[in-house]
Subunit: 361 residues, 4 copies
Amino acid sequence: MEEQLHYSIRTDLALEAQEMNVKDDPSSSDRDGVEVHENKKNDITITYVTVDEAGAERIGKKPGHYVTLESLAIRKQDKELQENLAETMSVQLRKLMEACGIKDMDRGLIVGLGNHNVTPDALGPLVTEDVYVTSHLFELHPETVAEGWRPVSAVTPGVMGVTGIETSNMVHGIIKEIKPDFVLVIDALASRSINRINATIQLSDTGIHPGSGVGNKRKEISRETYGIPVISIGVPTVVDAVTITSDTIDYVLKHFGREWREKDRPSNALSPALNPFERKTLTEEDHPDDEQSQAVMGMFGQLAAHEKKQLIKEVLTPLGHNLMVTPKEVDSFIKDMACVIAAGINGALHSGVEDGRLESY
Amino acid sequence: MEEQLHYSIRTDLALEAQEMNVKDDPSSSDRDGVEVHENKKNDITITYVTVDEAGAERIGKKPGHYVTLESLAIRKQDKELQENLAETMSVQLRKLMEACGIKDMDRGLIVGLGNHNVTPDALGPLVTEDVYVTSHLFELHPETVAEGWRPVSAVTPGVMGVTGIETSNMVHGIIKEIKPDFVLVIDALASRSINRINATIQLSDTGIHPGSGVGNKRKEISRETYGIPVISIGVPTVVDAVTITSDTIDYVLKHFGREWREKDRPSNALSPALNPFERKTLTEEDHPDDEQSQAVMGMFGQLAAHEKKQLIKEVLTPLGHNLMVTPKEVDSFIKDMACVIAAGINGALHSGVEDGRLESY
Amino acid sequence: MEEQLHYSIRTDLALEAQEMNVKDDPSSSDRDGVEVHENKKNDITITYVTVDEAGAERIGKKPGHYVTLESLAIRKQDKELQENLAETMSVQLRKLMEACGIKDMDRGLIVGLGNHNVTPDALGPLVTEDVYVTSHLFELHPETVAEGWRPVSAVTPGVMGVTGIETSNMVHGIIKEIKPDFVLVIDALASRSINRINATIQLSDTGIHPGSGVGNKRKEISRETYGIPVISIGVPTVVDAVTITSDTIDYVLKHFGREWREKDRPSNALSPALNPFERKTLTEEDHPDDEQSQAVMGMFGQLAAHEKKQLIKEVLTPLGHNLMVTPKEVDSFIKDMACVIAAGINGALHSGVEDGRLESY
Amino acid sequence: MEEQLHYSIRTDLALEAQEMNVKDDPSSSDRDGVEVHENKKNDITITYVTVDEAGAERIGKKPGHYVTLESLAIRKQDKELQENLAETMSVQLRKLMEACGIKDMDRGLIVGLGNHNVTPDALGPLVTEDVYVTSHLFELHPETVAEGWRPVSAVTPGVMGVTGIETSNMVHGIIKEIKPDFVLVIDALASRSINRINATIQLSDTGIHPGSGVGNKRKEISRETYGIPVISIGVPTVVDAVTITSDTIDYVLKHFGREWREKDRPSNALSPALNPFERKTLTEEDHPDDEQSQAVMGMFGQLAAHEKKQLIKEVLTPLGHNLMVTPKEVDSFIKDMACVIAAGINGALHSGVEDGRLESY
């Protein structure tokens, strides 16, 4: 999370990249190089996005597998939902590890990116403190290690502003010395959508660019760089004022779109348009048509999503008002999310650990 | 900050209450019962708002004196500006104390409202830890106390969600037992404007309603309740999505308004419209007229400020998206602000303490 | 824990007061006014000490009931033992509450004494954060409260060095305002024995003198002061250099005593003398006789316990070396102990809470 | 501080190693291979110990230079003394750096060993947060760097129990990647003397063995391993019960020795024997002779220092009572010490930073 957003191009979530593409250019077929499957269970929406070379170019995400878990477990501070989320994450992470060819006793290195003194950026370091670390036991007291555990180490490289060292260099030095069989990287992300803050976990086998390394192959932490599987775990924890505004305007437009249509509809039930996780099916039906948009929001309402964001950004940035913000409850949200992710990792890495057990660390 | 905002009626800042009133009802004379003076020095804007009974009814704030300091010292993380701000606060707080009839050796009680485990709400408790506390020395070792100090105690009553006790009751019990000559109350506020977050300090002699006590005379901490002067110090530290959106839309409208007018103007210099602290002079000139607003933002652009907020709120709230948010850098912002306010209080309360000295507490 | 120890007279634990008395004056019958029962279960030693007026004068503790739980659950960082300890504490606390006449729906106030910024003194404030607080729900939303819960509030008055207010005054003000039916006070104590640090919990119905209030009736928090039951929960978390040395010298003497006797004994098994929780039965058998003591430790070895302490204190104090110390692992010990005590309280106060459940707070 | 003490052999401070040797074997000439100079100024005792190959074998410390600063600035919580200490440290560190051939613009890497979640072991990580870090500015924005600064980076590798990786391996990987010109390593030490806790800073050019690497050349962080200067900065922050007892017994013996002699002496002034920093001159004069020791402490009193410690250790360890402890005020002591050391480093590394300035970080 060292860098801010670059509007017109980038999102850290493949799911969003794919949606943006479809929305802004509805004529394009969303099946060209990008496969999407969705699955719901226990209040969790799981979306599988597979991107090939063609899709990569189209949506601007690296080819590979992306699994997104969406749940309000953290924001609702609901312990039971959090256990479900950790359990589901264990299952999905295990599948992804298997798909990457990671074996039962392969040695893992967990890398918690971020700054433990900046709460919304402390997710990585907090997860690192909560995962089970066993490498030293395997090395020094192998006789004490029971069945069902694998060797795992965990590091928190810090951020460049505090260490003076580019994070990717630091991680590089550690990986070369430790020589793990695979790497898990955890990072807090900037979100492009207010409803994903602390409500989404993305697993991916495509690696990660810590901080400013974007577009610089050498700075990447990925299978290409190290020749070992690298799985990244990302959670959006902050959002900027531009995104909040743009999202809200969209909700207002949808609201008016819905109101107009409802005049002709018999049912007055709560529209699915208002459920933020019902995104895909809504686009065509609920969004007001051009004429309506113009009536409600004038020329502004007719802009495409990225144009709207670009315009808002151009207005806010010179004023110093494009703040990156995080929910007021950031302290408990981040602590709970770290707990869920650590439990998700522990369950996936060690067959001896029960899935979905949130320890009181 | 225990309660959320009530849009159509309330703001914690008299400055905002006064502006909202003028804006929404331009026909009203802003001089009826509300006097406003402004003063700038050292990058700090000081606004004095005096409200009498008539004004109180009109703008919905209690009669009394309100002094607002506006500065970007914290958000720019500029140590020197922070020292200036603390110094200015000492001067203004001392004046307000004198106006309230507080004497040199009067015994003060500092009350830090808020929750020290929720960073954006931890301002009060942090200030309480940083102020000089001397009451026990006066009582137990009076011979050790030098000239230039007065007896001061400090308490952090906590919040109802953690104590189970209404904050005003807790404070009431402590004041009745301690019997101070005057009270200073520090609280984090919800802002109605994105540009005031961690950039505004309001001093007032009208007391405070901690938490949900609004409108309930018995729950107030004020001169009326205790018969002693109560000075409140409030800082906006959070803002909600509705406000961010509404503010941003206003900036966008102003931007277009400026663009249209600039076509006819020779100068192309950075418009004062874009300086957020130049508010009052802009309203009429820079805001687009009705026709422009409609072109840019349709019917939405023509709504009055509070109508816009009300509408946005009606859309966001059922979605669970009207998050209260705080800047990503909340940890250091709150720590620095607490440091400034404690220094401001220390300088004002004790003639032996130099104004504007930020100790490393 | 605001005050340091006063050697010749005082210990906060009735158990120790009773033992000291017996040891230093073996001719006295330990049954005069002091009844002692001991009970062991699940690695926990429970000692019941009942003191009447005569005993009070003899051992210097107020008349009343004292229940001491001894366990190495915290120091061994053993989760299961910690659950046992919490469960046992719930049972014992419930009994003591019943004996005090506290009824099922009586309203409780929990007072966490201490300073949350000084880790070994942060036990009270941490417990306060971890207990279930329900008073406000009973008052504001009574319909939401299920069976099995009672109204409970919790406060952390802070310490005089930080507030400037004598702690007992602060608590007094709050109790008078809140008017609870009974009070639970939690405090960290100074220990007189190295083996009790973070290994002992004392429950008592005799109230407490926070800080320097010793001997001042008005400053006491007790049934006499308020007319309602006051139960105190104390845990030794620090020890001074004098005590460490004195204890260690005793262990060395015992060691030699054992060695001498073992020459005549067939068995070479680990002597019960070395089990620190086997105290009472050892005194006569294991301690070396006078001649042995003199040989091993010279004239020093022949001093009575309190004379030894007094002498060591006289040597160390002028050097500034009578430090109060706490185990290196203080951060996790205090956190775990707070968790156990909060669970113990929650189980005892609310019939709807299962005993011995350590929540991940 | 990952390892505990090994009594008969080791201390982390050369000063102590040298003294122990002299004391236990007074026939040896303390000038064989070990040179000692002492210097006092501003309440700070500076001791220079230079060890050559012969001395290394004799006292068990690596050949090289050791500079020890002794001051009660932290324990007295005296801001002015702390500034003096930081200033003195800057001067001494600069000298040692020059002696090592480090040049003005050489690139430094600061390594803060220890565990930021265990307060007495958090010194290294805290210093790392408080030093000025500039490497990234030199690399990315060289035009912004003023005269008087050098490139510095800083890392906190964590401890093996948390990372699963031997600390020396982690540091090794980072150094190989970053390729600094010199290294500064900060670590919290176990003390062999109660009066050195948080009162001593040792600078040395002999490198360090983090954690369990003792005696293993490959695990060392030193000039021999990396071919670049490695300067270590060590502060004793914990002590064990054995040491406290042994020290105290020594103070008691000295006390009696003094008392006996004073019977024959006219003056009754406070004996220098009681000043802990007057160590060397006392040994012969103040310590009671053998006959006195036996009278006071029996056979125990006649044991050599390391025999006494060994015996005490043998008694305490099986009881689980040889706790490592730290002063009750550990939170503020460690914070203040980190502040002093960071200021000492900042002043020494950057000619543009004034010596002895304790910033409010």
